[in-house]
Symmetry: C2
Subunit: 228 residues, 2 copies
């Protein structure tokens, strides 16, 4: 009885932690969308809103991390329970880094505000943004539901993001060659594109934690994601 | 007696873990240096060596991470002891990500191999490489010796890296505007420069774990690093 009581308490704490994580995930998703919009619409207020919200995300990271350490110290979980908390700690770091990337995009949007005319490459950037945000939402969903199938799909779909990224960077370089006066603007867009690509990598990391948690197998860096 | 015996065992395990970490740190440092050299010397063999070594680093990450989880499960550390293992787990992630950045630089070196003539900006890139590698070495040293003073210095000196980065990117954009045919080459150098800047950020993270471990205070995102 005592043991199952401890375990119930632990499950409750873990489930509360997951709720807070999903809240953090939702905020991160918003930040990415707002940052990208601020860049293509040259909207300095939106960009500043993203930058102001960044500190809230940082605080969430520190608080959630503390809670995890507190749970480990108090509950001393082993095996699967320990894997669950370790996964949460890793997810927190990735969410915070995605927030950093959104902040970088917003910073870029502010520095590009003087270029009022949009460049041709904005449409592809918007498409890539949609792809990346979809990946983030799927990855968080897979984490919340411990859904290995969905997690594997996110890992697989990261190749599409990489392809979109390579294509967009190529278009930017060609743009610089044909219109050198656009160089600064296009370099800014390239940085933002790279930030999106990094966010895609974080979504892949998040999906890997799902598999680690469910299957107890560390798939990071596995050439062939085969979880058997 | 029993308690102190457990604690001695724990200290021993932790100290062995630290040794392995320092080995990983040394390898990461080598990777960064080799990757940068391969880029400025257009040395494809060196770049491929870096890319081949990347998998060894990935394996080290997975193994060390497993060891940490094993130690927590077996020893059930609390307070300072738990903070020590959590710091090690965080450091492992940063080291692996620095390795990723070195790999990105090497990938860039390979894709730039066709441009045999060096660009003017190589000298500043080399300087920035030296600054960043020095930061890495100081951060790892601070971690090994739990030296808060050195850790604070690394955090402080990150501003110099940021300044060098901004200057170098500006020089690249100017180069693109004056010589549009160099655009592709300069974009590649810019990506490598950004990778160096990111490595600087990881060194800052590592230093923050030192302070967290020693003072038990999470200084991440603190505007003013004042550990009192």
């Amino acid at each position: 009885m005592q043991r199952s009581h401890i375990s119930e308490q632990y499950d409750l704490e873990l489930s509360q932690l997951r709720d807070q994580l999903m809240e953090m995930g939702g905020l991160v998703e918003q930040q990415v969308n707002k940052a990208c919009s601020s860049l293509v619409s040259h909207d300095i207020h939106l960009a500043e809103e993203v930058r102001d919200t960044e500190s809230r995300l940082n605080q969430m990271e520190v608080d959630l991390d503390d809670e995890c350490v507190g749970i480990i110290a108090k509950r001393q979980p082993t095996a699967g329970d320990l894997r669950a908390v370790v996964s949460v700690m890793k997810l927190i770091t990735d969410l915070e880094r995605i927030g950093d990337e959104a902040d970088r995009i917003a910073k870029m949007a502010i520095s590009l505000i003087e270029f009022e005319t949009p460049v041709d490459q904005y449409a592809s950037f918007r498409q890539m943004q949609q792809q990346v945000v979809r990946q983030l939402s799927h990855a968080l969903d897979a984490f919340a539901r411990l859904d290995v199938e969905s997690a594997l799909r996110v890992i697989e779909d990261d190749h599409d993001i990489d392809r979109a990224y390579t294509k967009l960077v190529k278009a930017c370089v060609e743009g610089m060659q044909s219109s050198p006066t656009e160089a600064e603007h296009l370099v800014g867009l390239m940085w933002a594109t790279r930030a999106l690509e990094r966010i895609g990598d974080h979504c892949k990391n998040i999906s890997e934690y799902v598999i680690y948690q469910v299957k107890g197998k560390d798939v990071r860096h596995a050439d062939d994601v085969n979880i058997g």
